[in-house]
């Protein structure tokens, strides 16, 4: 093994004045979105390594907690979440943020849980990418989902939880930890309304008591596994270190509950194939697990023990080969996602890393840190099919 030093970032994006809380790539263009703790949302050009535009998306006192873009959201939209209890959707048509958000969801949540957009398996992602310009075909795909819906009877209040083909716009959902921080809420961006909360409020006191024991929801992932016929699943991590898997057809009881972590779960990421994921918490562990949809269970696949505790962000590359974590120890760690073996420890940041993210084309990785910088890395580039 060569003793070459770990690589440096290909570029460091400087410009934020406060801790950069979250980072997200544009699904198709060479753009990067970052949000900082002083409420600034910046758009960067990842080729020129420069700020394209900067705007105050959320109040300066509260700051941006998370930003995300998704192919299902549309080419020109991004969503930001602030610690001011709002989730805002922005138009980036003209290169910069629209002056006013397209819509604001008042979730009244003031905690640390980053919201999550729906994640779908890679196949459908590809399909969506391929058809993104052709709305009609996309709609056809959605109609297929509707048919699936018709098959599944007896589910509770779920008709509006499905990808609704009748709408001209695609239905997009956002999962956040709710006003009551032990609950997970799912909002529809089109209707701007809360659809469901997990666990669904029931007169049964014992259930809610059990969730209370778990403490606040710290991390959430919304995804739509292919086996579930278009029904959304939610993976949520809690303060006591437990991770719950929900099927929203059954909002009362989670499919399964496991406790991989001994401290609060801080970050969850589901692979784009939706059959597994990675999580990091305040303890000294990184956990990789499989999701078995037929039995509705989570099984531990690999547990990595760290020297120093605290993982605040995780990300799996869209080709499912590589995963990265952002640590409190200022380091970004890169792992082989399939084997769980460590590949590199990247030391650039001078303060806690808050988030990592991979670009959809698998070329770039971005890490955001409290030192107000965002570093771009080019590691283990995927084999390009020419």
């Amino acid at each position: 093994m060569s003793k070459r030093p770990p690589p440096d970032p290909v570029a460091v994006l400087r410009g934020h004045r406060h801790s950069v809380m979250d980072v997200s790539f544009h699904p198709s263009k060479s753009l990067l979105f970052t949000g900082s703790a002083d409420g600034e949302l910046r758009i960067w050009d990842t080729i020129q390594h420069r700020t394209v535009s900067s705007a105050w998306a959320h109040s300066r006192a509260n700051g941006v907690l998370a930003v995300a873009a998704s192919p299902w959201l549309g080419e020109n939209k991004i969503i930001s979440q602030g610690r001011d209890g709002t989730v805002k959707c922005w138009d980036i048509e003209d290169g910069g943020l629209s002056r006013d958000p397209l819509l604001v969801l008042n979730t009244s949540a003031y905690h640390f849980c980053k919201f999550s957009l729906v994640k779908k398996p890679k196949a459908s992602l590809k399909e969506a990418e391929g058809h993104s310009k052709n709305r009609d075909e996309q709609d056809a795909g959605d109609t297929c989902n509707v048919q699936c819906t018709d098959d599944s009877e007896g589910s509770v209040g779920d008709s509006d939880l499905l990808q609704d083909g009748d709408h001209a716009e695609r239905a997009t959902y956002v999962a956040v930890a709710g006003e009551e921080p032990t609950e997970v809420e799912i909002w529809d961006l089109n209707t701007r309304s809360k659809i469901i909360q997990l666990p669904q409020g029931s007169p049964d006191e014992s259930a809610s008591a059990s969730t209370k024991e778990r403490g606040m929801c710290m991390a959430v992932q919304l995804f739509s596994p292919p086996e579930s016929q278009g029904f959304l699943h939610v993976l949520a991590g809690y303060e006591d270190g437990s991770t719950l898997l929900w099927d929203i057809r059954n909002p009362k009881i989670p499919l399964t509950s496991v406790r991989f972590h001994s401290e609060p779960v801080l970050s969850l990421c589901v692979a784009s194939s939706c059959d597994g994921g990675i999580s990091g918490g305040a303890d000294d562990k990184i956990v990789m697990y499989n999701i078995n949809h037929s039995t509705g269970s989570l099984t531990l696949r690999k547990e990595i023990i760290l020297e120093r505790p605290g993982i605040s962000g995780t990300s799996i590359r869209s080709d499912g080969k590589i995963a990265a974590t952002a640590g409190w120890d200022h380091r970004v760690r890169v792992y082989n996602y399939r084997k769980g073996s460590p590949l590199a420890i990247l030391k650039y940041h001078g303060a806690t890393c808050n988030a990592v993210s991979y670009s959809p084309d698998c070329e770039l990785m971005a890490s955001a840190s409290e030192d107000a910088t965002v570093a771009l890395w080019k590691l283990y580039p995927p084999h390009r099919s020419l």
Binding site: A11, R14, Q48, H49, R60, A61
Partner: protein, 1216 residues
């Protein structure tokens, strides 16, 4: 006498009888004198000039009447002159006619012949005979002027011949006007029409007739011989005479078969005439239409007159061919002339019978094979004749030949086409435009198909010849071949070239050819003089520096103009090694072909990404170099062994050549290249009617992306660290290694070519260069190269930076760097993180900041590098890289200067803003009070928020400037103690500037505080409490200062404290010290010898040291701002000092008490407790009186009373 009477009588019916009679009277007298002169010799007779002037004066019409009368004595004298001169004649002459007389006679004769017509065939024959005998005189026999005069006479005579009025006469068969006439040749003699009707016979027809053949043939050979003789005499030969001979030849020929004209004087003209003459002959002889039977188009209907001497002429031709080949061994220019002569002769002979030849197939084959052979051998030589006129004539000749005899001269057609191609790129506009027209014409004709097939044949042939000629010794033939290839490539169109490069084998062969031509090997092929003249490292001392100075001054001059015109930086330039083999011109032509390659792969409607494939071939060389260096790194080899290994140098050179090829190929796609190409090859605008030949590139999105990808691929290789790690000078490598100078120079040249490549790419991509992220990756590289030890590299990067600045619309490089400062700083930070790998960074940083002078503009961005720099200037960093201290300090100087200039602006700005806010606030408050009590709404919250933000912004900036200045100070201060004088001085500079900066920042801070207070008032008044968040949001600045010193004391204080602990109790000797602690505090900038020299320290001096230490502690702790530095070590220090104070060492008591007093300012309780501890421990042993006592210090008098809640208070009370 009788004759003259007859003449007079005949002319009496004319008008001007008196004039004629007067003329006759004069002529008569002079003729008589001439006659007597022929009998009696006379040295300098006045009669001849008189006669000449008379002849010149006399009008031709009157003179014609006395033609015979005047002619007779002149011929008589000429006879005599010739007779006495000819050696082999054996004729007995009465006396020798002097040169003066002979020449005078000849000029009189010429004048006469110019003005008068020869009346009859007999008369003409007589004159011809006399002149013949004169013309055969050799240069040794007769004077040059005499011989020239004879030829002129002959010319005058035959040019006076005018076709007769009879339409049926044979003289109408001549072409009348020369085919290759030129404006310069148009000085035809205007012969008067007078007296034409007087003779019954047509002299022109006679000349063409069979009976005159012998005479005409004789004259042809005489004229050629004359010209040949002059040429063979070398410098002694008369050019005039030669010109005359050729001119006369042309006229004679014209009179025989074509009408001819004469040209101007000069040897160049002679050649010109010769060429035209030759072509004209060939055009007539080998005219395709005339030879159509022989060519097999139609048979046996056009049998012309037969001539018996055809075979003999051909025999002669054969012999001449060999002769001309023999002559070829001689050197160039003379050789050309000679060959031309030989050729001339042969074809002349040929033409002699051409109007009598039987155009059979065999004859044609024979003739054309010889002619072709001749043409193929001679044309390439004529082609590179330096005189433009010759080339112009040559072009005309080829044009004529190509139009008239394309089939007959099939064998020479390729050569002729090649020649035209060369002439397309000619120095003379006239020639090149003409050649371009010719080629355009050829391509537009029906014969296009054939031309195209020819062209592709030529292309292959030229490609094979290319390396041989380029690496050959001679420049001109090489240039012409390269020109041909360029033009052929251009005219055959992009598709042709793209097809050629389609197959990987042909493509790599093609590029290999060019790699060979452009390689360093060419250095050994050029002439020795060039090698010596261009050798940069051959001389040491002042010589190269003077050349360098010149270049710099030129580049500065360039930069002044460069603001206006971008074209002043000529990029791509000729690679430095190529100057050994060829000129700039040769390189440009070679590069032109490569540019066409790049263009051909992108031109055309469909673009299949073949450019990337082709680019991979030269990139392969680059990759090989990179991987070799990587292997070297892996094996841990040092540079010396690597460089000395066989093949390494070759790799570097190949990479440089490959870079050169890549640059040119990409450059071909730029607008500049296309413009230059059309300037070169499209002197007259032609509509691109043929799509296939259009070199336009349609820049659609796909093509652009493809190009960007290609450039990205190249730049990736260009920027690989392995390439830049190659040593450029001996000092680059840290170890003492010896690398040959050649290797270093090769590396420098490689770097230079790469840098120029970056410029080329930016030129080619325009705005896309920056938007594709290439500027980000290459800007630092260029800036770094500014500090390269090789002048050429520096110069190149300077030029490229200027180019980048101008292309991106910045007036100077400084603006460019400011606009892209984020890129630069990013790169610098990256390099600073790996200082061991990039030891140049500090000097680059310093050089960059001073070269561009923009530090103050990018100041906010400098915070991060400054942090890293000051880290490196701390003790640990300095210990790691002692050699980098000075470069770092220099960088710090630049930074601190910049922060000073910024800081000077801050206070005024802050003050005026504060005033502004104050007035605004008071206005708002008074107006609100005036209105009503519930006036919170009146306060524009947004406005105040804005003001607050502005305040925060300026605060942040002020803090940035302050923190940069203070970190400069912190890093520089310890170096004040450096023994290195330079470092010391630089550090002093830094401190001076830094202090000023801090003062200004402080001032600005005060103004800001006022603003802040005003804001608070407003917020209170208007209860805009939500704004308070912002107010404090940014108040978290930490004082780096304290951190630094407390860290210093904690880490490095051990040595100080040791001094204190050791001293009072046992004698402090160096030996003790060494035993206890092997590494005494030894600052890296102190040399070891110094510490060794201070080996013996006296007890007194150690006491002094301790006293000084104690005083330092006192000072430090008394000063509120410094005291914090002791925070981390307070307990230890306090314990030590109390110990010393109570130890009874009288010498230290004062100082110790002083230190205690100081320490008590920090934490008096601690001191009290410590003292009490000591007191009670002593009291246990023996009964001590309450203090004050002589043994115990009078503490209560020196220390302040302890705090209320401290346990020591009780002790204090007790003591009292």
């Amino acid at each position: 006498m009788e004759k003259s009477v007859v003449v007079v009588r005949r002319e009496t019916n004319g008008d001007d009888v008196e004039g004629r009679e007067a003329l006759f009277a004069q002529l008569k007298a002079l003729s008589l004198e001439l006659l007597s002169l022929s009998q009696t010799p006379q040295k300098d007779p006045a009669v001849i000039p008189e006669l000449l002037s008379l002849l010149r004066r006399a009008p031709p019409s009157s003179l014609q009447s006395f033609f015979h009368y005047t002619l007779f004595p002149l011929l008589l004298l000429l006879d005599a002159a010739v007779a006495c001169r000819s050696e082999g004649g054996g004729v007995v002459v009465p006396y020798r006619v002097s040169d003066k007389v002979a020449e005078g006679v000849v000029s009189c004769l010429e004048e006469l012949l110019k003005k008068c017509h020869v009346g009859s065939v007999d008369q003409m024959f007589v004159i011809m005979k006399k002149l013949t005998s004169g013309a055969v005189l050799t240069p040794s026999e007769a004077s040059e002027e005499f011989r020239e005069g004879i030829i002129r006479c002959f010319r005058a005579m035959i040019s006076g011949l005018v076709p007769c009025s009879d339409d049926s006469c044979g003289c109408k068969g001549t072409l009348g006007w020369p085919q290759l006439s030129d404006r310069g040749d148009c000085q035809t003699q205007q012969v008067s029409e007078f007296g034409l009707e007087t003779t019954g016979e047509c002299l022109v027809a006679f000349l063409q007739s069979h009976s005159a053949l012998a005479a005409v043939g004789h004259w042809l050979s005489i004229l050629l011989k004359v010209a040949d003789a002059e040429a063979s005499r070398g410098h002694r030969g008369s050019a005039h005479l030669r010109v005359e001979a050729f001119m006369t030849l042309r006229i004679l020929v014209a009179k025989c078969c074509i009408a001819m004209i004469s040209g101007a004087a000069g040897s160049v003209d002679a050649l010109d005439q010769a060429i035209r003459c030759l072509a004209e002959f060939l055009m007539i002889v080998l005219d395709d239409e005339a030879n159509s039977s022989a060519l097999g188009i139609s048979d046996d209907d056009t049998k012309l007159q037969k001539h018996e001497s055809a075979h003999s002429v051909l025999d002669e031709l054969r012999s001449l061919t060999t002769k001309s080949q023999g002559q070829r061994t001689e050197t160039t220019s003379q050789e050309i002339v000679k060959i031309n002569n030989g050729q001339e002769k042969s074809s002349q002979k040929l033409s002699g019978d051409s109007f009598r030849v039987e155009r059979t197939k065999e004859w044609l084959e024979n003739t054309t094979s010889h002619v072709n052979k001749l043409l193929c051998e001679t044309f390439p030589h004529i082609l590179i004749h330096p005189a433009g006129k010759i080339r112009w004539g040559f072009l005309a000749a080829i044009r004529g030949l190509l139009s008239k005899t394309p089939r007959s001269l099939k064998g020479a057609r390729l050569v002729m086409l090649e020649c035209v191609c060369t002439l397309v790129v000619d120095d003379s506009d006239e020639v090149s435009v003409g050649a371009q027209e010719t080629l355009d014409h050829l391509f537009s004709e029906r014969t296009k198909y054939q031309v195209e097939s020819d062209i592709s044949k030529i292309f292959t042939r030229l490609l094979e010849r290319l390396p041989k000629v380029v690496l050959g010794n001679e420049e001109l033939p090489a240039l012409s071949v390269v020109k041909q290839l360029l033009v052929v490539t251009y005219y055959s169109g992009p598709q042709f070239l793209a097809d050629h490069l389609q197959s990987p084998i042909t493509a790599s062969r093609f590029l290999d050819t060019f790699a060979l031509c452009l390689s360093h090997n060419s250095a050994y092929t050029g002439s020795l003089e060039k090698l010596i003249a261009d050798r940069p490292t051959s001389s040491t001392g002042y010589l190269p520096s003077i050349t360098e100075l010149k270049v710099t001054s030129r580049s500065h001059a360039e930069s002044d103009q460069g603001k206006l015109e971008t074209s002043s930086f000529v990029i791509p330039r000729m690679p430095p090694w190529f100057s050994y083999v060829g000129s700039q011109k040769l390189y440009e032509m070679l590069a032109g072909i490569l540019r066409l390659v790049g263009l051909s792969l992108m031109a055309g409607p469909e673009n299949d990404g073949s450019l990337a494939v082709i680019l991979d071939i030269p990139l392969g060389f680059f990759r090989r170099l990179v991987s070799e260096v990587r292997v070297k790194e892996y094996n841990g080899e040092d540079w010396e062994t690597w460089c000395n290994r066989t093949g390494s140098g070759q790799l570097v050179r190949q990479a440089a050549t490959a870079a050169c090829i890549l640059n040119e190929m990409i450059f071909g796609l730029s607008e500049q290249a296309t413009d230059a190409l059309s300037r070169l090859l499209r002197k007259k605008s032609r509509k691109a009617k043929d799509n296939k030949l259009s070199w336009e590139v349609s820049w659609n999105k796909r093509a652009k992306t493809h190009l960007i990808d290609c450039v990205g691929k190249i730049l990736h290789e260009y920027q690989s660290s392995q390439v830049w790690d190659l040593p450029v000078n001996q000092t680059d490598t840290t170890d003492v290694e010896h690398i040959s100078l050649h290797f270093l120079r090769d590396t420098a040249m490689l770097h230079q070519v790469i840098i120029e490549g970056v410029g080329v790419f930016s030129l080619c991509l325009g705005e896309d260069f920056a938007s594709s992220g290439f500027l980000h990756s290459s800007l630092y590289l260029l800036l770094e190269s500014l500090t390269c030890s090789s002048f050429q590299v520096r110069n190149a990067s300077d030029a490229v930076l200027r180019l980048l600045a101008t292309t991106s619309g910045h007036p100077t490089v400084g603006h460019l760097v400011v606009a892209n400062a984020d890129y630069v700083v990013d790169s610098i930070c990256r390099q600073l993180r790996h200082l061991d790998l990039n030891p140049h960074v500090p000097s680059v940083l310093a050089a960059m900041l001073s070269y561009i002078g923009v530090a103050h503009e990018i100041l906010p961005l400098l915070e991060e590098p400054m942090r890293l720099v000051s880290q490196e200037l701390e003790i640990v960093g300095r210990q790691h890289h002692p050699n980098l201290t000075l470069p770092f300090l220099k960088a710090v100087v630049e930074i601190v200067k910049a922060s000073k200039s910024e800081a000077c602006l801050l206070p005024d700005r802050a003050k005026s803003y504060s005033d502004q806010v104050k007035t605004k606030a008071s206005d708002a408050i008074t107006s609100a009070q005036e209105k009503c009590s519930n006036s919170e709404d009146k306060f524009n919250e947004e406005e105040w928020e804005h003001i607050l933000l502005e305040l925060n912004r300026s605060k942040r900036y002020r803090r940035t400037v302050g923190s940069i200045a203070s970190s400069c100070l912190i890093s520089a201060t310890p170096i004040l103690a450096s023994s290195n004088q330079v470092s010391c001085l630089v550090a002093l500079d830094i401190i001076e500037e830094g202090i000023v900066t801090l003062a200004k920042v402080e001032e600005a801070y005060r103004a800001e505080t006022e603003t802040k207070e005003t804001m608070e008032e407003v917020i209170e008044f208007a209860s805009l409490y939500q704004l308070k968040d912002y107010m404090n949001a940014t108040d978290d600045g930490a004082d780096e200062n304290r951190d630094f010193f407390s860290r210093r004391f904690r880490n490095d204080g051990q040595d100080f404290w040791k001094l204190l602990t050791t001293s009072p109790f046992h004698v402090m000797t160096p030996k003790h010290l060494r035993e206890e602690n092997k590494s005494v505090l030894r600052l890296p900038y102190r040399t070891i010898s110094e510490s060794a020299s201070s080996s013996s320290i006296a007890e007194v001096s150690s006491l002094k040291v301790q006293a000084a230490l104690l005083n330092m502690i006192a000072e430090l702790s008394r000063d509120k701002r410094c005291a914090s530095a002791l925070d981390a070590v307070l307990k230890k220090v306090a314990g030590l000092v109390v110990g010393i104070a109570c130890s009874g060492v009288t010498g230290l008591r004062e100082a110790a008490l002083n230190a205690l007093r100081g320490l008590a300012c920090v934490d008096s309780d601690l001191i009290w407790i410590l003292l009490a501890d000591v007191y009670y421990s002593l009291k246990k042993k023996r009964d001590l009186p309450l203090p004050p006592s002589p043994e115990f210090p009078e503490i209560s008098t020196v220390l302040p009373s302890p705090a209320e809640d401290c346990p020591a208070r009780f002790l204090y009370k007790g003591m009292q």
